[in-house]
């Protein structure tokens, strides 16, 4: 028991599960076999079976989660590689980012409220589109449950990775710039990880979207939430 509860075992176990989940997805590329989704399911099952608490697992796999931070820094590279093009078109990009960010915060809160979400749940959803560390900070600031936000953020990221490209085609958005930016804005690093290998342009604009929406949401959400809550009283 002490062995399976050790840092080395839990980290190695999580890695092996992810590798196998990727092999499964390569063989059967169906959306429910999304590697992150499958790995989460297997790890949850494993913890429930062995009785290891999530708090314990989370502490011992900090070694894995930590690498999210340098990965976000690394997105500066594709961002830089497209910087000249971004500078040429900054007005349109800023409007797309700003409207995307605000519509995300407002729509998720209003829809959740209309479907009967409690106060702390809709507050936990406001920052759902941005990367985990930012989203948890925003949720704390506006009075939701940060741990719930973390799980929702990962789910939204998986959703964006799964449906992003198909949805873009469906609404007729065909250029790499808009596809990348929309997916990065809506589904942060997980959507970005899926779309970035398609082309450097996809990667750059997705990185731009995720970075900008992170910054914008951190600033905008705490400011507009009181106004959104006023709107909710009229619904």
């Amino acid at each position: 028991m002490e062995f399976i509860n050790s840092i080395s075992f839990l980290v190695a176990f999580t890695m092996v599960v992810f590798i196998l989940a990727k092999i499964l997805y390569q063989k059967y590329p169906v959306f429910i076999f999304n590697p992150v989704f499958v790995s989460m399911g297997v790890c949850i099952g494993f913890l429930l079976m062995t009785g290891i608490s999530y708090a314990d697992y989370n502490t011992k796999t900090k070694f894995i989660s930590f690498w999210l931070n340098p990965s976000v820094v690394a997105l500066g590279v594709p961002f830089y590689l497209q910087l000249e093009r971004i500078k040429r078109d900054w007005k349109r990009i800023m409007s797309a980012m700003l409207l995307g960010s605000i519509s995300g915060i407002v729509s998720v809160v209003i829809i959740a409220f209309m479907f009967g979400a409690s106060n702390e749940v809709y507050l936990s959803l406001a920052a759902k589109s941005v990367t985990t560390p930012i989203a948890m900070g925003v949720t704390e600031a506006i009075g939701g449950i940060p741990a719930l936000t973390a799980g929702i953020v990962v789910s939204v990221g998986i959703l964006g990775a799964i449906i992003g490209e198909g949805f873009m085609k469906l609404i007729g958005v065909t250029n790499a710039k808009s596809q990348g930016m929309a997916i990065g804005t809506a589904s942060h690093a997980l959507g970005t990880a899926k779309i970035a290998p398609k082309s450097e342009e996809h990667g750059a604009y997705a990185a731009l979207g995720l970075a900008m929406n992170g910054v914008l949401t951190a600033i905008i959400a705490p400011i507009i939430m009181p106004w959104v809550e006023v709107v909710l009283t009229y619904l």
Binding site: L47, N58, N69, A117, G137, A147, I171, V173, N175, G203
Partner: protein, 111 residues
Amino acid sequence: MMTKFTQLAFILAFLALGEGLKWVLGVPVPGSIIGMLCLVLCLEFKIMKLNWVKDASDFLIQNMAFFFIPAGVGLMVQWDIIQKEWVPIVVASVLSTLVVMAVTGLVSGRK
């Protein structure tokens, strides 16, 4: 040409720089985002060369999805809330994700 080890050290140094600036400026933006913006500036102003970070950055970006797993597993402790309120959570998350994608994608231009 830098070794991969040195490249990784550069990226971690930018992360530390971002955390440091966050602490000094007291802004509610994560250090990783500030570090990323600093890296872009240093590359743009030729303080850093692209091949000092390129390989390590490609490696991290390619494997980024893996680093989310522990946070995702955290959903298991929110089971009570999810059981009670899964309808608004799922409906709002899905619809709002589509809204964000459509608004950003269409404003930025279809072609």
